[in-house]
């Protein structure tokens, strides 16, 4: 309950000065900017107009007009809320942490503006900024790699990368024709046409060891010529997990887990690439066993055979 009041009050406090500065905006547009429905925004406005300064006479209440056919909002008297209050700790942290992330993610955003905006926000946060400094986003991306990707994307050129792949655990040099960058939960991904694979691939930017900008010669087939991505259903493998390694259920996408009488868990895991499952099995020291399909069991045996040759 108190969370709701505080969240709503925060919105109201940001709303009055913003509406005052954006005179004549429609209810619908204002609602979009505050991430609420139009009816919630109207409920907020109805609450605001009964609040005000002690005395609470007509001249002391917040005065907002928001009726009429076009539902445009006019703040006639914002009382003490003409100017917004300082950013709260959460507000300031939300922006600064996101800006720190953007600084580490390649893309088309303006890096100079990013640095100067961060400086200005830190300045208005004052002493609070010292605490915000211990809120860290670590995307694991190197500054040189980020600027090489930025440049290749901006100039429409190739990118030459040294990549530590996780599926096959190998290091490869590749020529990529970058398509775009996305980022989820603090990790950055580069999508591009990979000449080595002859197909579109997604690379984790923190696994790119080195990157440099290549020439402007692009070979990527146009989308209509490109092989359509295979939409074949992903195969599922049946696995059994030993009781002491049940933590793996939190970490890997194991579906339909079913506990066995001895405490072990059987389930299924999606096989995007058989190599990945083989590595997972090897890393679990016998606590994760593939029950089927047999082809995947054979792949595990083959991998151990190759590894054991060195110890023979």
């Amino acid at each position: 309950m108190s969370v709701t009041s505080a969240a709503r009050l925060s919105r109201l406090l940001a709303m009055v000065p913003w509406l005052y500065a954006n005179d004549g905006i429609t209810v619908a547009e204002a609602a979009r900017h505050f991430g609420v429905t139009a009816s919630q925004l109207e409920t907020d406005l109805w609450l605001l107009i009964v609040c005000g300064l002690p005395g609470y006479g007509p001249d002391q209440l917040i005065d907002i007009q928001f009726w009429g056919p076009d539902a445009r909002i006019h703040v006639l008297d914002p009382q003490a809320l003409e100017r917004p209050l300082r950013l709260s700790g959460d507000e300031s942290a939300a922006l600064l942490v996101a800006l720190r992330l953007l600084a580490q993610v390649p893309g088309s955003h303006d890096r100079q503006a990013l640095l100067s905006a961060m400086g200005k926000l830190q300045q208005i946060a004052g002493g609070q900024a010292d605490h915000d400094a211990t809120v860290v986003v670590d995307a694991g991306t190197g500054a040189e790699v980020v600027s090489a990707i930025d440049a290749a994307l901006a100039q429409g050129r190739t990118l030459i990368i040294r990549y530590a792949g996780s599926t096959r655990d190998t290091i490869t040099d590749r020529v990529i024709e970058p398509i775009g960058v996305t980022s989820l939960d603090g990790r950055a991904y580069l999508e591009g046409w990979c000449r080595l694979a002859g197909d579109v691939r997604t690379f984790r930017v923190d696994r790119i060891l080195e990157a440099s900008v290549g020439d402007g010669h692009l070979e990527r087939p146009q989308p209509d010529q490109a092989t359509t991505p295979s939409m074949a259903p992903v195969a599922l493998a049946s696995i059994e997990l030993a009781p002491r390694s049940r933590w793996a259920l939190d970490v890997y996408p194991i579906e339909e887990p079913q506990e066995q009488p001895d405490g072990s868990v059987r389930g299924r895991i999606a096989v995007q690439d058989p190599e990945w499952v083989v590595r997972l099995v090897l890393s679990m020291r016998g606590d994760l066993v593939v029950l089927g399909p047999d082809s995947l069991r054979e792949a595990v045996v083959a991998a151990t055979d190759r590894a054991l040759q060195a110890y023979a």
Partner: protein, 329 residues
């Protein structure tokens, strides 16, 4: 959105209280607050008013609103006011800066910090010259940050206060109550972590926020073990429990064993002998096994034997047909 009558009243009362304290530079005594602010008219007794007022005052303070308690010459509370520097500074942003801040605000999407980010952007827009409203851009950059513990942990960090929570460690143990002086919050490898001093275990620890069960409570107790100067909180994530160090010299094959080669400055396309470390012996063996034929242990002999035995055991488990034709696509 399902706001009950009482919640509307509380928001209204908080706003009236805030405006009352902002209206004058002179401190407002409690008695005046009680008689003037409409929401307190409902309080059936002095004690009930005191409880409501204390809670409201804390709420406003927790939102970062600087409410001062002013004492009279005798040392008694004369009244309360919002200190003069409550307004957002005149911060002018260029269109380019506003665009990148708007992009930053959009990063949170559905996350617990989405509303604070949006309100912050609206506040900044309101202090620019003329009407400014930036539209949300979509650059495909997202932080989901759904962990309920994130917001209270950030507040405790700012206020240098101890937090308590129930924590389920990754090794399958049942959850236990922890008391922690927060040092920093780190987003890394797709997770959010709290780094701090664990009061019960008497040392620095790292906690994954998604493993906290229930809520994080910000206690009234001030931090007793502050962040040691020069500590890199980000570096601490992933380095913890590193006291029991296990290591082995491993030959990694050219172009292979990328995961073991990380942080080693060796030619990736040549065989190399490197020292691999892990928090425990078991994890060391697991890391080396995962590299398959990309790595072979040279030394010590017991790790060499353990790795080859582990590989042989996995081979044994996977020989022949699997049980009951399961696992078809």
């Amino acid at each position: 959105m399902g706001d009950s009558g009482t919640r509307v009243d509380r928001t209204e009362r908080l706003l009236d209280l805030l405006l009352c304290l902002m209206a004058t530079a002179r401190p407002v005594p409690r008695s005046a607050i009680r008689s003037v602010v409409p929401g307190y008219g409902d309080a059936p007794s002095e004690a009930a008013f005191e409880r409501m007022f204390e809670r409201d005052k804390d709420e406003l303070r927790s939102m970062g609103i600087p409410i001062e308690t002013v004492l009279d010459p005798g040392g008694d509370v004369e009244g309360y006011r919002v200190s003069g520097d409550y307004a957002l500074a005149e911060v002018r942003l260029t269109p380019e800066e506003l665009a990148v801040v708007s992009l930053a605000a959009s990063v949170w999407e559905e996350a617990v910090l989405a509303a604070p980010a949006r309100n912050a952007l609206r506040k900044l827009e309101a202090v620019q010259d003329g009407p400014v409203r930036s539209m949300a851009s979509d650059a495909g950059i997202r932080m989901r940050a759904q962990e309920a513990g994130l917001v209270p942990t950030l507040a405790a960090l700012r206020e240098c206060r101890m937090v308590t929570f129930d924590y389920r460690a990754g090794n399958g143990e049942s959850s236990a109550r922890r008391r922690v002086d927060p040092w920093g919050v780190v987003a890394k490898d797709g997770h959010w972590y709290l780094v701090g001093h664990d009061q019960d275990r008497q040392g620095p620890r790292v906690f994954r926020l998604s493993r906290i069960e229930g809520s994080v409570t910000v206690t009234a107790q001030s931090q007793q073990h502050p962040l040691p100067a020069g500590t890199d909180v980000s570096a601490m994530v992933g380095q913890m429990d590193a006291d029991l160090k296990a290591e082995a010299v491993v030959r990694v094959r050219a172009g292979m064993a990328a995961s073991l080669r990380a942080h080693h400055q060796v030619d990736p396309f040549a065989d190399a002998d490197i020292t691999v470390t892990a928090p425990t012996r078991a994890q060391l063996v697991a890391r080396i096994c995962a590299a398959a034929d990309g790595a072979v242990v040279l030394d010590p002999a017991d790790v060499r034997i353990e790795v080859s035995e582990a590989l042989a055991a996995i081979r044994e488990q996977h020989q022949g047909q699997g049980p009951s034709g399961t696992g078809q696509a």
